[in-house]
Symmetry: C2
């Protein structure tokens, strides 16, 4: 039972499990590996690590289930991911694979506090679009330099 803080890598696995559960009902080793671009043995190792941390229930060759604690943590990470993605897309006019990749790296180094503030920046820009304070076109010209 490891009590050390979650590493970025383990956060990635946890998030992948949550995303795959939503998408496919169950998260399979093969799909986690594909999503994170690692080989299957790396996933097996990670699952043991997450089990030691009581974040998943898992027996070999069987289904993976997030524990309450695991689900909670996975949701937090996923939320940060979403905030960063919307910041990238709406505020920075960046989308696609590159933006996705950068958001993925950032999210592990982002405090909840800062994440919330970034969300409010996104809200402010979106509201500006809605009220006509600034048009998306104007904003994008501004942001593209």
């Amino acid at each position: 039972m490891s009590n050390r803080p979650l590493t970025p890598s383990m956060e990635d696995y946890l998030e992948a499990i949550l995303v795959l559960e939503k998408k496919n009902r169950v998260a399979r080793v093969k799909d986690i590996a594909a999503m994170l671009d690692v080989q299957m043995p790396s996933v097996t190792g990670a699952l043991k690590n997450l089990r030691d941390r009581n974040l998943i229930d898992y027996e070999k060759n069987s289904f993976i289930n997030l524990t309450d604690m695991g689900l909670e943590k996975a949701k937090k990470i996923k939320k940060k991911h979403g905030i960063l993605l919307s910041f990238m897309e709406i505020v920075l006019n960046e989308s696609g694979e590159e933006a996705e990749k950068e958001a993925c790296s950032w999210e592990h180094h982002l405090s909840t506090n800062v994440a919330n503030k970034i969300q409010r920046v996104v809200d402010y820009i979106e509201e500006g679009f809605e009220t006509g304070r600034i048009t998306p076109d104007e904003w994008n010209r501004l942001i593209e330099g």
Copy 2:
């Protein structure tokens, strides 16, 4: 001569060398260790790594000198660091040790393109303060939620 992409850790060392050179004329192992909060043997190891990458000239027990390539890379990282810090301070109203730490982690996962766009967000907010479009107080209330 390693040609792999610079790791976050090696970027930290490179940046620390540049900062210490500016501050003290020369970067010493002891000071790099203190700045990055690692032990001196870790620095020695990192210096060999950076030398293998042709980013510093370095012989043991002697001065450390950034090569042209090393200087260039160090400056880029330092610039990203500065951009993130100003984003934290001006846009997110976050300063102090915590903000510094988060900027330090981010900067290694930040493309030049996204960094430049973030800079323009900072400029936009600052300009808003100058023109009175929005006051710092209003902005901070907004961002603090």
